[in-house]
Symmetry: none
Subunit: 260 residues, 2 copies
DNA sequence: CATGTGACTGGTCCTAAACTGGTTGCGTAC
DNA sequence: GTACGCAACCAGTTTAGGACCAGTCACATG
């Protein structure tokens, strides 16, 4: 028999059990699988710091008994979190919450944040701000119906006063009613208006700069540039920005983290 | 929240059943086929988030009973949505609403996989394979003690027969005892030997190709190239490969997915 | 101090019941 | 023929129990 006789007043464990019982709605009769609900509840407990990083969770048997759930189910839920690197299991030792969730480097940042992270002072020179009906190509990239209004922002971005990139941003007027709302950071304005970018796809290629753009960037024609085409999405999947940038190849590099 | 569900324990299921009953007009005598109406109703339920993505729908038998409809009809309606990838069926498990399946783009891939994903046939021309004591710079990049043995692989990678990239890979001999083990794919060999890459950091910049490399890549000197420097890590964090590549700027672009 | 024991941990295996979708066959109505 | 209903069976999943192994850790013993 694998019985358990614990009655120690472990407040932490009690808190967790209570949290799980509430969050997973163990008694409710939902169509969702039990282990699935428990998994989500555990995920929430880690997110809400009910389970602090580095802390340990109660034993599987104890959890099973106190939640009136089979150990199989507990293990199935835990297993999913272990696969996601949120929990760490070691035979013989208790299951623990992962110490540090490695913050991925592939993070969606604005130009300003990017430069600050490099220890450079970001700056902006406005080249054009306008508004109008989306061109067919723009409507296509943004997933808009033809005829929708869009804002266009054309800027020279600088770092420590030196030209770093040319940027053309196109944003549906639904998210940015006027280009004049943007002082320096487009993303700040979007966030303030409740349209937080959540995801982006970015295509990069190496290319050669032409005459006009070379002058603006302060490099000789024929210098290498990093062409970046970026489509930024909201939580719901709607495209909130389409952006084409030319970064100076001699002073800019892009860092990505790749997985699995 | 827990106390409100006195009259009806299955809130979620009840909501759906009510929604379907209303939307599909089950009792009405319309020329439209019953399964057709049910299908549209289910489609609406998904669109209106009555059925959230990732959620599960009640079992076919339960639906059939509660809607007073045959299971055959239920299945016929569900079948259509499965064909449209709106629902996901798995024998033994409940039918679930499809998650938005944005395939992750920031994935660690080998050159071969990358080219295949682009619909191109990957190829390799060996320029050099050798082995020796790590140079100080190499030891530094790989995090090795000075004097450790490393393998060096220098390859011209082709796509559909055309030169695409020059690649110099450096791998500690502990993970690759001999450079001759690699036929075409380094990652395949590493995986077979139990050293699966799990994570990589990649730095990219735009640059100009020099004379020798231009000849190998089949582009004129001064053509734009994408310089990629990649450090690949194992699960445990040890560096398993340090790689420098030059990709042709005119035919190669790199796609990344960024979050939050 | 070292060390060994025992209680506890997760890892793995098993049985079993109650469900799930998958499939087939038979029947009725239009 | 198509639409619809009913029923049985198969295969897979979920959940509940249990038992045993192997690793970990705290604590008493020397």
């Amino acid at each position: 028999m694998d019985t358990i006789e614990t009655s120690k007043p472990q407040t932490e464990a009690d808190d967790l059990v209570a949290y799980l019982r509430d969050t997973a709605r163990l008694d409710a009769d939902t169509p969702t699988a039990l282990y699935q609900r428990l998994e989500d509840a555990l995920r929430g407990a880690i997110r809400d710091r009910v389970l602090p990083p580095g802390g340990v969770i109660p034993g599987e048997r104890e959890l099973a008994q106190r939640l009136s759930i089979s150990r199989v189910t507990i293990r199935k839920a835990i297993r999913a979190l272990v696969d996601d690197r949120l929990l760490v299991q070691r035979q013989g030792a208790r299951t623990a919450v992962a110490e540090r969730v490695e913050k991925p480097v592939s993070v969606l940042t604005s130009f300003s944040q990017d430069m600050l992270a490099r220890g450079l002072a970001p700056g902006t020179v406005w080249l054009a701000k306008d508004m109008g009906v989306a061109l067919p190509a723009e409507a296509m990239e943004l997933g808009l119906s033809p005829g929708t209004e869009v804002c266009r922002l054309r800027r020279l971005r600088t770092a420590d006063g030196q030209p770093m990139a040319l940027e053309l941003s196109i944003v549906p007027a639904a998210y940015l009613p006027s280009p004049d709302l943007v002082e320096t950071s487009l993303y700040t304005v979007l966030e303030e208006r409740g349209h937080s970018p959540s995801r982006a796809l970015q295509r990069m290629r190496s290319s050669i700069v032409g005459g006009n753009e070379a002058k603006l960037l302060g490099v000789p024609p024929g210098a290498p540039i990093l062409e970046i085409e970026r489509r930024v999405f909201l939580e719901g999947g709607q495209t909130v920005e389409y952006c084409r940038s030319l970064y100076r190849g001699d002073t800019y590099d892009f860092l990505v983290e790749l997985h699995r």
